[in-house]
Symmetry: C2
Subunit: 629 residues, 2 copies
Amino acid sequence: MSSLESDKAMSPKLTVELLRQLRLAMKNCKYFSEPIQAYIIPSGDAHQSEYIAPCDCRREFICGFNGSAGTAIVTEQHAAMWTDGRYFLQASQQMDNNWTLMKMGLKETPSQEDWLISVLPENSKVGVDPWIFAADQWKNMSKALAGAGHSLVAVQDNLIDAVWLDRPQRPSTQLMTLGLERTGMSWQDKITALRAKMRERKINWFVATALDEIAWLFNLRGSDIEYNPVFFAYSIVGMKTIRLFVDLKRLEDPAARQHLQLDAPSRPELSVQVSPYEAVHTELQAVCAALGPKDKVWICDKAGCALTQVIPKTHRSQISYTPLCLAKAVKNATEIQGMKTAHIKDAVALCELFAWLEKEIPKGTVTEISSADKAEDFRSQQKDFVGLSFPSISSVGPNGAIIHYRPLPETNRTLSLNEVYLLDSGAQYKDGTTDVTRTVHFGTPSAYEKECFTYVLKGHIAVSAAIFPNGTKGHLLDSFARAALWEAGLDYLHGTGHGVGCFLNVHEGPCGISYKTFADEPLEAGMIVSDEPGYYEDGSFGVRIENVVLVVPSKPKYNYMNRGSLTFEPLTLVPMQVKMMNTDMLTQKERDWVNDYHRQCMETVGAELRRQGRKEALDWLIRETQPIA
Amino acid sequence: MSSLESDKAMSPKLTVELLRQLRLAMKNCKYFSEPIQAYIIPSGDAHQSEYIAPCDCRREFICGFNGSAGTAIVTEQHAAMWTDGRYFLQASQQMDNNWTLMKMGLKETPSQEDWLISVLPENSKVGVDPWIFAADQWKNMSKALAGAGHSLVAVQDNLIDAVWLDRPQRPSTQLMTLGLERTGMSWQDKITALRAKMRERKINWFVATALDEIAWLFNLRGSDIEYNPVFFAYSIVGMKTIRLFVDLKRLEDPAARQHLQLDAPSRPELSVQVSPYEAVHTELQAVCAALGPKDKVWICDKAGCALTQVIPKTHRSQISYTPLCLAKAVKNATEIQGMKTAHIKDAVALCELFAWLEKEIPKGTVTEISSADKAEDFRSQQKDFVGLSFPSISSVGPNGAIIHYRPLPETNRTLSLNEVYLLDSGAQYKDGTTDVTRTVHFGTPSAYEKECFTYVLKGHIAVSAAIFPNGTKGHLLDSFARAALWEAGLDYLHGTGHGVGCFLNVHEGPCGISYKTFADEPLEAGMIVSDEPGYYEDGSFGVRIENVVLVVPSKPKYNYMNRGSLTFEPLTLVPMQVKMMNTDMLTQKERDWVNDYHRQCMETVGAELRRQGRKEALDWLIRETQPIA
């Protein structure tokens, strides 16, 4: 799956009064010395999270549009909202006509910078909340505005919060501690490894702002953000200091206190000093005030500019990917074992679902929503289930062609024997995170549906079976997933794969497989990504075949320059429907791959189904993994 | 082929005296107000040409190293030269021990910036010739130096020229005019199209500095630089003005005067004002002095900073690829026809060569050098032959594994029945430019040689036969060329293809097929690139199979989103040696491709060989194009 989707009904939000109040705030000297002529409202939170908590849904609050990507800008005269092709329809339905929808990707649509320059009076001030505006965005926007005689200004108090009277509280859920048996590495060892990286690069301090990096570093999990087992926090790590900024109430829990050794640190340099979440700014100022002339502070270039700008330029070392992001991406043996276990349990749940669907669909009572609920139900019966890893994309027929579809009561279709069904879903277990897409037909698929499915399958196999040298970046594999589709004149307009966390975010950097990202880090053994090519026939059906795969060493015939080779091992073990395949279109190698994959599903998941005594699902699995000729 | 190579013997140049003089010049106030502590000597000329004229070989003059890529830096105490892995051996042999070789790509090697910062005294001035230092290089270098308290300064007089007493004159060869029958578009129409692009982007002036762009724009050719039919010039184009800066003596030729309508322009806005080559700086200053407040001047970000910095920042619009570069890359029908004709003639010459080699090699008298000379001889017999398009890479056995090899008397091997022979060569004809590599064996290749050749062939075919959507960038196809090699654990460490000019430079932007370039422009019908995967077994043999291919529309079964599809059509029509293929490793589709390709070679080149009465070559072609089973 690839992004968050709406769960609200599609009627426009009335924003006349809200906009009036926001414009008053833009002139209100309580917030700044001079009025501002425009205010930018991005979608993110202060941690540049992909999924955000309700208290951070400021762009949705001001304009009504609740898709995952979009930036609103309000001037004295205008209100405009930029989003991409996935959301044109939804945004136009959710926003009233005080708002202009700016369709990104269309030639005639101006960039935010160009639009601002075209509508602003001379010498305007454009305000932004520096906590949620990333440093790299600030750089580009302020440069463009300055070139036209305007200026970008940081407004410390968020103006949306000022007019959002019933804004929800920031969540502060209970922290879950993870022991060595889950993480494979203590937080103390992670700190030590981080410090070694810092020493290597002559860095004295590191500021962590990404929530999944902080959760990973401290072997802690929360549930502050739906689908993401993270908690609101910052951290600042020096060579002898560890500072953690969280709501202090969370640390009244003895388990958390003991995990962090708050009351009896083993060694002084591994003593964690905890401060309130909001104190990070002041504390970072204090750290920076005490810097030596050559001291350097690491911060991600995607961190908010409020913190970034605290670090004096001469001491600031901005990086695209932090050492935590890189370390987190390469899973250790314990994490890999956990991910394997989680995927077997997940496969058990999906075998149960598909067996159940086969029985129930003919009755005409199963809908996109009830099927997704049933899948969640089966998953929740598995050990260490925590929740879903993203909202299920459960889509029938034409809904399957909407890449980021999420069933709503008013779009909910019934599963039938006549239409293709695409289910993209996943879960968080305490041992791992899953994300799987299967496309199936419960009646007889058309020749064209099978043809398209088979192109996608060929692409999936081409990536999954690819052998490539160590040091290869994932984007170099993207075309393998498309070659068969391209040959038929077809394509899909999304990337092929994303990094997957281990009981963490279902989307994580710094690796992936996409024609879009050239800043990705090379793949290495232990990294985990998705392999999910697709094909979408507008108004008719969608196909996507997604496995989560582990990067593993490969031993081909030769070993050029001793570089070593890599390939992928599927972690997802759910049969791919043979009925959807036109097996005549497959090469012998591809047929062997399918049979070998199904043999693995049968062996591994079959054993677990037997163990759990889930007979019907086992029968289904046996049937669905029969070899093809 | 991919770059220029040495033709000098490998003994170090003695540089004690030269360095002493250069260091004196660095302190000499004739050239600047204050002494400089370091001087940077890049390899390029003032036009960022890949191949340079003898008068521009300043880096070679000062250090002795004559490879195509390298930057020398001289300080009061040190002299260091940076080059890449292709040239480590050669550079170490050509430089005396006054020089430190800086091996780029090795972890321990500092960047030029870091090295300068480590060796310079505080507050140093680093000098550079702003004509040959590109604007984008200036930006990076001056930023890095400023960060460490130093400054980069432009030294108008080149200090190498000051100590280079017998420096050759800048060439000023006769201009060749090309009529519509060769170019398909008059220079007047090209100017009009350029102005339309300028109007579209609200640009008032365009400064052309790349020699091939100026040659293409004016439909003129020269021979100032070996292998490149270009001439030293600049051009400045405004909405009503066309300025051309060249050695005025060249325009005493009536043909050139008439071609440019110098004595009777058809319309005032198409009147070309000619000025001396050196006047460009003063004239650009005059243009900039008269700019309106909103006027914009286009210049490539790779242009020298001397000219770039003449344009005030507020008026400067820097682009990665100029509109001329883009327009030149998409060949029109006349140019395509010319390229086809040139490639047929080139194939005739190579068929003759290979037929001749088959006869002569058993006598033991053919060497790498004499084979390359013979190839040039056969090519020169073809109509409208102008010269070679690059120095031939004629390499036997282990020499074939040196990617940028060029035979020298002391490395020259004899062609035999026991070793693989790799010939990468090409020519300039008045109707087009060629570049072809064939790898052959005149005895019996080993199973391993055949195996490697066949992986490379599979890669070549995978690219050549690829079908891909309109808008695809060439770098997305690079992995297709490697998949078969990767599967066997093999690879090659160069890109897969480069743009090819039409009777212009054999390497041109802005398209190509490489894992390295993500700034390439999307492929479109009419573009011409090379397809040249390879494999190199150090100390043993090299394989490369290179065709020049034309991007053409393709009509696959479907047409997703009406985007249209593209594929490649080989322009090169020289048989690929079946003896080198392990046909068991080929799929049926690949065998069909080989047979179809050989049928085209036979039909097209066979007809021309018959017409030219070249019987032996025709017999060879008939034998070499027999279908494989």
